[in-house]
Structure formats: C-alpha cells, structure tokens
Symmetry: C2
Subunit: 218 residues, 2 copies
C-alpha cells in the first residue's frame, strides 16, 4: 500500500528533523559533554529508542548536526559570489560587502557553532576537518575567485587571490571574533564597532591590493 | 622552631606546584569535563585531600592554571617591546619580528590553551575575560605602543596604532590559527608556510601603514 509507506516515511523524516533540531539547540547551548541522548529525546519529545533508531550514538548525531550547519554557509557563499558581479565602484561595493559579511559571521548562533567545533576538534578531528573544508574554506575559495575575476578585469591587483582572500577576512574578523571567543557573548561588538572594523579593513586591503598598487602586490 | 616552619612551607609550596603542573597537563590534554580531581591527585602523586587543601574545587583550580599561563605571555610581550628599539631597517626588522611572533603563537601548547579557554569561555566568562585582558590584549597594546613610537619617529604611518596592531596580527594569524583550531593539531602549518604567511602579512601591512602611505592611513 503506497500511501501507508509514504506516510510512514514522512513520519520518520519528520521525527528525524525534530531530533536534529533538538540536538542542535542542546549542543549549542550545553556543549558536547553537557548533552545526553536523554536530553535530546526529551527536547524533541520522542522516545529514547526513537533517537537511537535514527542515530547510532551521540557522536554520530553530533557529526550530523555540525555538517548540516555547513549548509547555512551556502547562503554566505551566495552573498560572496554575487557581491561584485557588475560593480562600477569597487571601493563602495567592497565596503558594503565587508559590512554584510561581518554582520553575517558575527551572529550569535554562528559564533556558538564556531565555539562548539573548536572545543571538540581535537577529539573528533574528522568532524572539525569536514567543517573547515565545507564551511570555512568554501567561503574563502569563493572570495578568492571573486578577487581573481576582479584582477582580470583590472579592477583589483590581487595576483595571489587566495592570500588576498585570507588577508581580507583576517583584517575584518580577527578582533571581533576573538573578543567573543575568549570573553563570551557579552563581548559582542556593537553594529557601529563592526562597521568601523569593516571600513578600516577595506581601507587597508585596498592600499595593498587596489589597482594602483597591483603591480607590486605579491 | 623556624626551621620546621620553613620546611613545612616549602613542602606545601612544592606540593601546590606539583598539583598545578599536573592539572595543567590534564586540562590541556583532556579538557575541563574530561579531567577529575582524582585524575589530578593521581598525576601529581598526592592524595585527594591534599588537592582540596590547596584548591577548593575544580573550577578554582582551572581558573588558577589558566591565569598562570598568562605569565607565559610576558615573554611574548618582552619580544614585542624589544623588537624595534633601534631599527635602521624597519622592513627587515618587521619581517624578522613577524616570523618570531607567528612561531611563538603557533606552539602546540599555546594553541591547546587557546582551545581550552575558548571551549569554556561561555561557562566561565570571568576566566575567559581575564585571559583575554592579561594575555591577548596585553600583547596587542604593547604592539600598538611600538607602532605609535615608530610613527612618531616617522618610520611608520600608523595614526590609529591600536587598529594597526589589530591588522598586523589578523593578517598574520587568521589562517594558520583557524586551521589548527578547526582541524586539530595535524593541521599545523610547516615552518616554511608560516614564513610565507609572515612575509605576505608584512608586505600588505607596509603597503597600508608604511611611511610612504602614512599620510593617507586612518
């Protein structure tokens, strides 16, 4: 009976989604050690055997929720990929992009995930590496592609576009991200401070990688 | 009897040191949750009551070992403070300094401590904040002082020396530090890669903050 099979599947997929959402919330607020499979079952309002039916153990569940969040990165990748498609004023568009980019990465949930991955990277190196590659590096690679294209169009002088992307993001994020990582969420910068970081980073970036300096930039 | 009192004191201080060393090793390798007071007593080869005689609970012990490591930062602060005292070739000295600085901060023990503090910063915000202020910010402030002095000597054009220090360190460390934070210790950069990061960071820094661009730099 196909209808029954379909609704069984639908019910199963819905439960799986409930469990994943509950586990994400629990891991982000209590960490890996502070979260038990009992907690996840209670939060998802399903039985513990149901949790185990979908996820063999806590480690597997953790791995899945961390990888699922790299999908959120896809939105950021799209933002990067669309930022300078038809720019006629790179300085202005780079400033606007820097503000959007820092705003997206300084969201409390993104920072909580960052802390969670870092806290457990030595224990689950495969998980950390996967997150680095599918999240962190994917954004950088997209940005490097943009800088390469802009350099080919002679709008920028980034002859090592990977290094230029590293520098752009490092100039932008080193202080506000570390402040929160070390001091906790109460140290989140204000929107005004983030705009100041964005503008200062773009200014320095263009001094080094702007078209006028392009012939010197390594 | 003063001799007895002194040797009692000496014995007590030695035991305290043994406990701190054992706790440092345990926390760095197993994390906060993975370490028990029993583990610390066993590693230090003292009894559990002796551990509690010196430290009221695990949280207090953790707090003390994290703050003790900010003393290690003093060496880095000295390195920064002495880097350009009598420079007659800032480009060369800045490159040498960048290589020393990245080498010091990419030591496995420093990175392990970084991970430990980040993992627990939301749980013990006072500890994280103290580490940020006595460790991270102290180094940045010393570097900012240097950049200010070099600007007064017209060797540099860093009219916002705090921002310049932020940028210098962000250009230098964003990639190698994050690689290890997310992917674990197997992702440590080679010495050659670190030198490449150092040279590229100094090149970009001088494009923006070098004397020739000084009048423009914000």
């Amino acid at each position: 009976m196909p209808w029954t099979a379909t609704s069984e599947l639908g019910r199963s997929a819905r439960k799986r989604k409930l469990i994943l959402d509950a586990a994400t919330a629990a891991f982000l607020s209590r960490g890996y050690d502070g979260t038990s499979m009992d907690d996840v079952a209670a939060l998802a309002a399903v039985s513990k055997p149901t949790v185990y039916k979908h996820f063999a153990d806590k480690e597997r569940l953790f791995y899945e929720i961390v990888l699922a969040t790299t999908d959120q990165m896809s939105e950021l990748v799209r933002l990067v990929a669309e930022a300078f498609v038809e720019t006629d004023n790179l300085d202005r568009d780079l400033c606007a992009f820097a503000r959007q980019f820092i705003g997206a990465l300084m969201q409390p949930d993104v920072l909580r995930l960052r802390r969670l991955v870092i806290a457990n990277a030595d224990r689950f190196p495969e998980m950390g590496r996967a997150w680095y590659e599918h999240g962190f590096e994917r954004v950088l690679a997209t940005l490097a592609n943009q800088f390469q294209r802009l350099t080919e169009q002679q709008l920028l002088g980034a002859h090592d576009p990977e290094m230029a992307a590293n520098h752009f993001v490092g100039l932008l994020l080193w202080i506000p991200v570390n402040k929160v990582m070390f001091s906790g969420e109460s140290a989140l910068s204000s929107e005004e401070e983030l705009e100041r970081f964005a503008d200062a980073a773009v200014f320095v970036f263009l001094q080094a990688y702007g078209r006028q300096h392009g012939s010197d930039a390594r």
